[in-house]
């Protein structure tokens, strides 16, 4: 497969996943708001903080009301990570490598783009309850995954897209979890109160993990939620699961059947996977959840860089025509 094409497929996977996760982010807060006691103000700042774009947000906005935050996260093209930017980038990557996609997957990502445009024209962020729109966007992306899953050959291209998707998802799950760190409780004493539990539940719901969590752990307990979303071996959005799948994709691409590593990207991801595999949630909490997640995000970034230098820019005199994507 052409390196340039592999590059675009990888980023297509990342951007689609990013758009879907932003839809989930937004859902966390709406889930929360509805259960809050009336005297408590809704908090939108944590959402922005978790995406890592707080500075950018403050450049364009004053204060954190729901409309501004929604616009910034969903439709603002000045925010390179907004849903709109991600969907546009996904479609642009898909357009460049259309000959490598099935007709249906291309058409779905094209429709997704028009869906976002329509939302923008209708000023969805001003709606009282815009959740139906985000649900629709999320479902469109899931439909695309479904079509791809049942129609694409499991060759290199497939694994490059999966690789992008799982790395992006690992990063985003860590950020959704981090929202909790940024949400302020009225006071120290509120830790462990019903309000605190409400937060954790909203978080689980936003990654469609609530029911599965219940079945495995029963009661809501912060350490258990962290364990579930970071270390669970079977839940497809847990960070460990995503990293393990991404590692598997790299092995498929290089033809590695014996374990260990064949290139520096495999080495980096293998190390991270084994760390997660043998981690204990008590250690994570003792280390500090926020710091631990921060650390993870840095490692995922460096894995992405290794992938780039191993597969996309291997030729010395290769002139980069494409702009750097991140």
């Amino acid at each position: 497969m052409l390196s340039r094409v592999a590059n675009h497929i990888y980023w297509l996977g990342r951007y689609l996943e990013r758009a879907e996760n932003y839809a989930r982010f937004i859902d966390v807060n709406f889930n929360l708001m509805q259960d809050l006691p009336i005297d408590l103000k809704e908090q939108w700042m944590p959402l922005v903080a978790a995406t890592g774009d707080l500075d950018l947000y403050n450049k364009f906005n004053e204060g954190f009301d729901s409309k501004n935050v929604l616009f910034f996260l969903a439709f603002d093209e000045r925010n390179p990570n907004s849903m709109m930017s991600a969907v546009k980038s996904a479609r642009e990557n898909a357009r460049i490598i259309r000959e490598n996609l099935s007709k249906e997957t291309w058409e779905k990502s094209n429709e997704l783009y028009y869906m976002m445009q329509e939302g923008n024209e209708k000023k969805i962020w001003k709606k009282e309850d815009p959740r139906a729109f985000f649900e629709k966007v999320k479902n469109q992306i899931l439909l695309l995954y479904g079509i791809a899953d049942s129609s694409l050959a499991r060759t290199e291209g497939w694994y490059f897209r999966q690789l992008g998707q799982f790395l992006e998802r690992a990063d985003k799950t860590s950020r959704i979890l981090d929202v909790k760190y940024h949400i302020l409780l009225p006071s120290e004493e509120e830790v462990g109160t019903p309000l605190d539990f409400l937060h954790w539940m909203a978080l689980l719901k936003s990654v469609t993990a609530f029911n599965t969590y219940r079945r495995v752990y029963g009661n809501i307990a912060p350490a258990s939620v962290v364990e579930f979303l970071v270390l669970d071996k079977y839940f497809p959005r847990s960070i460990y699961y995503c990293i393990k799948e991404a590692e598997n994709c790299l092995h498929k691409i290089s033809g590695n059947q014996g374990g260990g590593y064949k290139n520096s990207a495999e080495k980096a991801i293998g190390e991270l996977r084994s760390k997660l595999e043998f981690a204990d949630v008590k250690e994570i909490i003792a280390f500090g959840l926020h710091e631990y997640l921060d650390n993870l995000q840095v490692k995922i970034n460096s894995i992405s860089n290794q992938i780039d230098s191993n597969f996309f820019t291997i030729r010395d005199n290769f002139t980069k025509q494409t702009t750097v994507q991140e």
Binding site: M1, S3, R98, Q321
Partner: protein, 474 residues
């Protein structure tokens, strides 16, 4: 939907005779048309537009601020061509392609036709499209113009005239293929009932033709594109997808020891045949335009060494120059000793004194064209232009006569077209596609371009033209 009020006017109408009778080859279609309500027809049209949009069947218009991507409007009333009429077009195009290919081989090698004084040498050798690096070259299998998209129009007399031979990188074939798929959905039963010759095997034929250019048993084929900002990018990716070959751009390729390689995730892989959709002079900055960012340094050397086949061969542009066009009937006679089957439009060459005097005198009745401009740019339609425009072109011609030709205004035939005001006649042209592989084959279909503006004769997509599906009947 009603067609009673339809006026075919003074032009040749493809569906109705001047007396308002439906022509025989349109009978079945008209039956369907009459059964459908106006609302149903507009609904079918809407559905077709939606499909085009979600397929991303877009083209880019240069210098247009309204956003990069546009949809080429597809009218849902097809242009239908009876079999007998098609047979003539087919044999005429085969003859023409054959002669033009011999002409190209000749002018880059022996130059017999120039030595025999059939065509003035300086017209060919001084042309900016005559590529000196190609002198003495015979491309693989002796084929120069692998893919041709010739433009024809039907005039008042009901005869077809060749308007232009497009021998470089003719585009539009993806519209022919995709439009058919969309129109099939609009009239599912009609195709079955009337019998329309299929075009869907075009990508397979194209691939076969390209593979034929290499002697390897399983040659690696690619489509070379300038990239997503090219107006025909949709088509490039569409054809690569349909043929199941790589779509490559200049940055994907590297030449080492006169062999062309693609950069893949598993290292370098040799490529044998390129269907290139990049203009001649942008192919290789070392051989041609040194500023080209699109091409591949060393590609031409690899081509000369016989390590890569290019379709179309570099250098074909000289033969579809509008001044050379005037000589094509002579070219056919010279190489094949046959009378041309299809008509040329009478053409006045401004480079010749007598012709020029006639053009300057009668400019208000003529169409003036730049000899090497495409897309309907640099063109004057005499009868529709103002006095100032006439004068402007008179000056242009006087200052640079070799750059201009003139032709009488042709009356383009019309086909009924769905508009907001009901069904009205709109002018059309016809672009069939010809493949030169083991033999010459004309694909039984075409891109019919339609001028959507009432009375307009400009069918170019960049200037408000749309398209129609073209049915060649069994």
């Amino acid at each position: 939907m009603k067609t009673e009020g339809y006026k075919s006017g003074e032009h040749y109408d493809e569906m109705f005779t001047p007396e308002g009778e439906t022509r025989a080859h349109y009978l079945e279609f008209c039956e369907t048309l009459k059964k459908n309500t106006a609302k149903k027809m507009h609904h079918l049209q809407f559905a077709a537009n939606q499909t085009q949009r979600s397929m991303g069947m877009t083209f880019n218009v240069y210098h247009d601020n309204q956003g990069l991507e546009k949809i080429l409007h597809l009218d849902i009333i097809p242009r239908i061509i009876p079999n007998e009429e098609w047979r003539k077009i087919e044999s005429g195009l085969k003859q023409r392609t054959n002669a033009l290919n011999m002409f190209l081989q000749d002018i880059y090698n022996e130059r017999r036709i120039l030595k025999d004084g059939i065509i003035p040498s300086e017209l060919i050798l001084n042309s900016k499209d005559y590529l000196d690096p190609c002198v003495g070259l015979t491309p693989p299998k002796g084929i120069w113009c692998h893919i041709t998209g010739t433009d024809l129009v039907k005039s008042k007399d009901g005869e077809y005239y060749i308007l232009e031979d497009n021998l470089r990188c003719p585009s539009g074939v993806s519209y022919m293929l995709e439009s058919r798929e969309i129109i099939k959905r609009a009239y599912p039963k009609l195709f079955y009932k009337r019998g329309v010759m299929p075009v869907s095997d075009y990508p397979a034929k194209l691939l076969q033709m390209l593979q034929n250019l290499s002697d390897k048993p399983k040659p690696v084929v690619g489509v070379l594109t300038p990239g997503i900002y090219n107006s025909a990018y949709y088509e490039h990716s569409y054809l690569a997808l349909q043929m199941g070959v790589e779509l490559v751009s200049g940055v994907d390729l590297i030449v080492e020891n006169k062999i062309v390689y693609m950069q893949t995730t598993q290292g370098l892989q040799q490529i044998d045949v390129l269907y290139r959709r990049i203009d001649d002079t942008f192919l290789d900055p070392l051989a041609f335009n040194p500023d080209s960012m699109l091409g591949v340094p060393g590609l031409f050397e690899a081509y000369k060494a016989g390590n890569i086949a290019l379709a179309n061969a570099p250098g074909t542009g000289v033969a579809d120059d509008k001044a050379v066009y005037a000589y094509v009937p002579k070219i056919i006679k010279y190489y094949l000793n046959e009378e041309p089957i299809l008509n040329n439009v009478p053409t006045y060459l401004c480079r010749e004194e007598k012709d020029r005097a006639y053009v300057l005198e009668n400019i208000h009745e003529l169409v003036v064209k730049e000899t090497n401009a495409a897309g309907g740019y640099g063109m004057l339609i005499g009868p529709k232009a103002t006095k100032e425009e006439h004068d402007k072109f008179r000056e242009l011609i006087k200052n640079n006569p070799t750059n201009y030709i003139a032709q009488p205004t042709l009356s383009l035939s019309t086909v009924p077209t769905l508009t907001d005001e009901g069904i009205e006649g709109r002018h059309v042209d016809l672009r069939p596609y010809i493949l030169y592989g083991k033999e010459i084959e004309v694909i039984p279909g075409a891109l019919t371009r339609v001028a959507l503006k009432k009375g307009s004769l400009v069918v170019n997509s960049s200037q408000g033209g749309g398209s129609k599906d073209t049915w060649v009947l069994y």
